[in-house]
Symmetry: C2
Subunit: 227 residues, 2 copies
C-alpha cells in the first residue's frame, strides 16, 4: 500500500521503518526537505539525525507534506501536536479528502513546565480539531498512548497483552485501521472507544502517562483494561 | 481504628460497610442526618435508600460532616466532586488538621452532557484544590479510578492483578494509605504516582473511564500498567 507519514521524529521514523520493512511504499512528509536532510543534530527525543536514519531505510521516500499526502492511500499524522494542524494544512485538504487519516499525535503543552499539560482537553481534543478542520478526511485516533517502539512492536511489552484504542466517526475507517494495527503492527487487543469525541479519553490518558514514566522508571509500558 | 467517611452514596456505603465489617469504628458524615434517614428513595447510582442500608450495618454511626470528621483518625472524602469542598468546609478544618484525608472523589461535570467532562483538570485537580483549602490535612488521592465495588474488593476483577494509584505530598500519609489499601481492602498493586499534582493524571483517567464503560459493557474493570 502507498502510505504517507507526516512527521520525521521518533514516531514518524518508527512507523515509516516498520511499514517500509513490510514492503509498503512509504513517503514521509516534512515542511522543508532540504533543511531536514541537511540537519546534523538528532531529534528532541534522542534519535539520530534524519539524514542518518534515512540512510538505513533507502526505500523510504521523502517529500513535502503535500507530496507525501498526495502519495498516500492512508495518511499517518506523526507530527508534534502543536504543529499538527499547520502540517495538515500544508499537506492540503485536497490530498486528504476521502482518505483515512491516522492521528497518532498528542496535544502536549511544554510551555507550562514539566511534566507537560495538554493544550486541548476535556470538552475537545486534538483529533476533533483535526476532524473539524478536514471534514472530508476519515480521522482515526490511535497509538498515541504508547511509546514509538511499542506502537509498531507491542510484543516488546508484557507479551503484547495490553490495549490500544481507536476513536473515530467512520466505522469502515476504524475497521481498516484495526486491521492495520493487527496485521502490520502485531496488536492483539484493539479497543474501539467510540466516535471521534472519545479521543478526549485517549489523549487525556497522557496526563497519567507522564506521571507513570517516572513512577515505574520506563517508557516501555502500556495499559491493559482488566475485567 | 476510628474512621470517618464523608458521603452516603454508593462509594460511602461501600467503604463504610467494608471497614465496619473489619471491626473499625466507622462514622459516616452527611449534611443533614434527619433528612438523610427520612429519605425513602434510593441514590442516583441505584443503591437502596440510606435508611435501609444503615439497617444492615448497625455498627456504622451517622453524624454531621463535622461530627464524623471529629470522630475519625482518618477521613475518607466520598462525596460527589462538585460538593466536596463544601462538605469538607462543613466538616471543619479543625477536624481535619494533621489527619490523613483520603480523597476518593472525582471532579465530574454532568452539566455539559453525557458522558461527563471534568470541572477541573489539566493544570489543576480536585485533590489539589482540597489540599490548598485544607493545608494542614494530609491529602492522599486514591481509589477514584475504580467502581465502588472494586475499591473494597479488587479481587472481583481479573484476580486482583491491576493497579490502584496514590498521589500526595506527605510520604508517611501515602505509606499509611498504601497499608490500608493492601491490608484492609486487599489491593496487591499500589502505584505511587508522586506528589499531589499527580492526582491530575488519576482524575483525568476518568475521561477514558467513561468511554470504556460503554465500549466494554461493564463498570467492573480496572487498568493494569503492563511493562
Amino acid at each position: 500500500m502507498r502510505v504517507c507519514v507526516l512527521g520525521t521524529g521518533v514516531v514518524g521514523q518508527a512507523l515509516s521503518a516498520k511499514m517500509a520493512d513490510l514492503g509498503h511504499e512509504v513517503m514521509v512528509g516534512t515542511r522543508d526537505v532540504e533543511s531536514l536532510l541537511a540537519r546534523t543534530e538528532g531529534g528532541m527525543a534522542g534519535g539520530p539525525p534524519f539524514s542518518e536514519w534515512i540512510g538505513h531505510h533507502p526505500t523510504v521516500k521523502v517529500g513535502t507534506f503535500a507530496q507525501a499526502a498526495a502519495h498516500g492511500e492512508v495518511v499517518f499524522n506523526a507530527t508534534v501536536g502543536h504543529a499538527s494542524l499547520d502540517a495538515l494544512g500544508a499537506a492540503g485538504a485536497e490530498n486528504l479528502d476521502g482518505k483515512i487519516l491516522v492521528d497518532v499525535s498528542n496535544p502536549l503543552d511544554f510551555s507550562k513546565g514539566m511534566p507537560p499539560s495538554l493544550f486541548v482537553s476535556n470538552t475537545d481534543s486534538l483529533a476533533e480539531r483535526i476532524q473539524r478542520a478536514f471534514p472530508q478526511a476519515k480521522v482515526v485516533k490511535t497509538l498515541n498512548t504508547v511509546n514509538a517502539n511499542v506502537m509498531v512492536d507491542p510484543g516488546q511489552v508484557g507479551g503484547g497483552e495490553h490495549d490500544v484504542f481507536v476513536s473515530g466517526d467512520d466505522r469502515a475507517a476504524k475497521a481498516e485501521v484495526t486491521r492495520i494495527l493487527r496485521e502490520w503492527f502485531g496488536w492483539r487487543r484493539v479497543l474501539d472507544l467510540g466516535d471521534i469525541t472519545s479521543a478526549r479519553g485517549a489523549e487525556m490518558v497522557l496526563a497519567l502517562w507522564v506521571r507513570l514514566v517516572p513512577a515505574i522508571g520506563t517508557w516501555m509500558f502500556n495499559l491493559r483494561v482488566v475485567t
